[in-house]
Amino acid sequence: MNVRTEWIDKLKGLLPVHTALDVGAWIELQPSLAALRETAITLMEACGCEFASLVAEAQDAGEGWVLRYFFYQPQAAILIAIHLPIAADAVLPAISSPIHAAAWHERETEDLFGISFQGHPFLGDYVLHDSVWPENMAPMRREFDPRQQVTEPGIGPDWQPRRLLREEGAIAFPVGPIWADYSEAGLWVLETSGEQIHESQSRLFYKYRAVEKIAEGQTVDRALLLAERFSGSAAFAHAYAYCRALETCACCQVPQRAQALRAVLAELERIRYHAATLAELAGSTSLAVGKSMLQEIEEQILCLSGQLCGHRYLFGLCVPGGLAWSPDPAELATLHDDITDITKSLNRLERMLVHTSSFLDRIEEMGTLRPDVADLYGVVGPVARASAREVDLRRALPYGAYVDHAPVIPREIEGDGYARLRLYFAEIRASTTLIKTLLTQLPDGPVITECPMVAGSALGWVEAPAGGTFHWLHIDDAERILRWHVATPGTRNWHAFHRALEGAAFQDFHIIMASFGLSVAESDR
């Protein structure tokens, strides 16, 4: 009896009222609307599942909606979906009060589809800001034409952030949406009665470009351009996840060599992403030499990518069926040697940084995300792994070359800025080791195969540099997108960001933000 059948039996035992089906890619549960909360809570509490994504879309026939709540069980490496068709005017029970990780997913669904949730503590003004968008707009509904201009105004400058701190003399200090040198657009409202940040709110989606909406009705190739570009700094990871969804849909077997090279590029992107995060972290503490040295390394990786693949951010490389990049042995040798040099420089920098007491004073016990809080919010990626959470899709749901080459997953337990610093360096080392292993054992053969498009839907996931990302794709028989949904690592980690700010001094805001290493462009889509 294999693991899946065992799990199906276990789930049937735990949830006796409804069925558990093996639908190939995942185990599907079909509870009634009333049993949704109970099912989700059982999955999280009794089965040790992690919440992955919430995908809503219009039913193929009829008026209502189909909701899919994805979970995964990391030890058994299985994906579980709750499949819930509902009527157009149904009110969903919110699962976010016990499963806090789902809170922002539900806010997004409520905002973009106009689906009602009952029992959610904080709805509205999320993707669509009340200040610029009219009430009752639901842009993700099929009948909404993205080419139209919305002229109806929002409430304008009357909009004020919700005040959480009720104390005499308390002030709300806004940071954003235009702020500091090269910072991304976003608003952080810091509430204080003196020196320390007591409460704070992150207001994202100033950069909402509606990529999921404008992809609808487009060809899969065209949407791939969007998948690469909405984030940019994790372009390869998102193109990879998108292509994985397409390939699953088409039952396409990607050649071994392409699998290995995809993992090489994904790890190269991770190293670059972490080097950039470390440069920002050093810069936020005014450690100018450290920042400069890290930026030099980042530039070195970008030049290496540009020289080998033609694009500094690996755009245009990952395509359905494999890779649009076929390196020769000399190029692979360059990659191997350069990555060795880069890691040596980074190791040396780490030794210098951890022996700089003025730097450590700024990051030690700073921006602490306690392991229990990290668990509650279901944070992902390096931020989670620095707070004692063992979540990494490369191990939890292995894919591609990671099935045979499981990477070492570093972990820290303190959850402060220093733990995150050490973790970024440890992940860079682990990625280097993996790249070298993959390059020495690189299989021969083609790097691309035919990927004929088939109508259907599938979920693709990868561990992006900032954490796990899930792409849901639904395509019709004309190879056009019916629904594309991206669950970004930012949805989870920005949600928990305010907990790391609690009690911090104002000047530490920048440092804590830098230590989280999150992209606004990636979560705003």
């Binding site: 657009a185 950069k207 950039a276 450290g290 020289q307 694009h311």
Partner: protein, 217 residues
């Protein structure tokens, strides 16, 4: 205790001689500026040995700032929906290889002190207001440099309910720098053109043709 001062002295000057000498390393100028899979032909212009001219004047450009600004320009950056790669390239204009400050160009915190507004992104609905406010707060004379394909014509997003389809739809633009993302050297060229330190391509020969058309359908 690490000695950062000594380390930096030992490392010596790390800044390139570019643009006075052609010493941009391999890969600093990408072979495919827009990163489109089948778009290599449009980008061949950029694969020669010499540094290409990326920056172009718009048809309505006021030209560079008056001569007295030549070696002292203050820049305010506004992110109106830029992708992370562009933000990352922008952060590198300050990095040792490029060192923006040697040209007398500095980033300023407030638009009230700024001579140049550097804008990226297709101008999302929520950033339209803040962008306009920042532009209006700037004293005359002022110039606007739009960087990245999305800021020029909306790029892959085009014009729709969420994106204005380029900076020029909201405020007048003087210089454009194409690329997705434009590399740090190109962004610096854009700023140098606004300062009057380097030439920009005429609107007639504008690089707009090599920018992918951003229709949404």
């Amino acid at each position: 205790m690490a000695n950062w001062t000594l380390t930096s002295l030992v490392l010596g000057t790390r800044t390139l001689r570019w643009p006075h000498r052609e010493d941009l390393p391999l890969g600093a100028v990408p072979a495919r500026l827009h990163g489109l899979t089948n778009e290599a032909s449009a980008d061949q212009h950029f694969s020669s040995n010499e540094t290409p001219i990326w920056v172009a004047r718009t048809a309505t450009s006021q030209g560079p700032l008056p001569a007295r600004f030549r070696r002292s320009v203050r820049v305010r950056f506004v992110d109106a929906g830029a992708n992370g790669a562009l933000i990352s390239e922008l952060r590198l204009v300050d990095a040792p290889p490029y060192n923006l400050h040697r040209f007398g160009i500095f980033i300023t915190a407030s638009p009230r002190d700024a001579d140049v507004l550097l804008v990226a992104g297709p101008v999302t609905k929520a950033m339209r207001g803040p962008l306009l406010k920042a532009y209006q707060a700037m004293p005359e004379p002022k110039r606007v440099v739009a960087i990245g394909d999305e800021a020029i014509n909306g790029g892959v997003y085009g014009k729709n309910f969420a994106s204005a389809g380029g900076v020029a739809e909201v405020i007048p633009v003087d210089f454009i720098v194409p690329g997705c993302p434009p590399p740090p050297a190109a962004i610096i060229q854009g700023l140098l053109a606004a300062a009057g330190q380097c030439a920009a391509i005429d609107p007639e020969q504008s690089l707009m043709e090599s920018v992918p058309v951003g229709d949404t359908q």
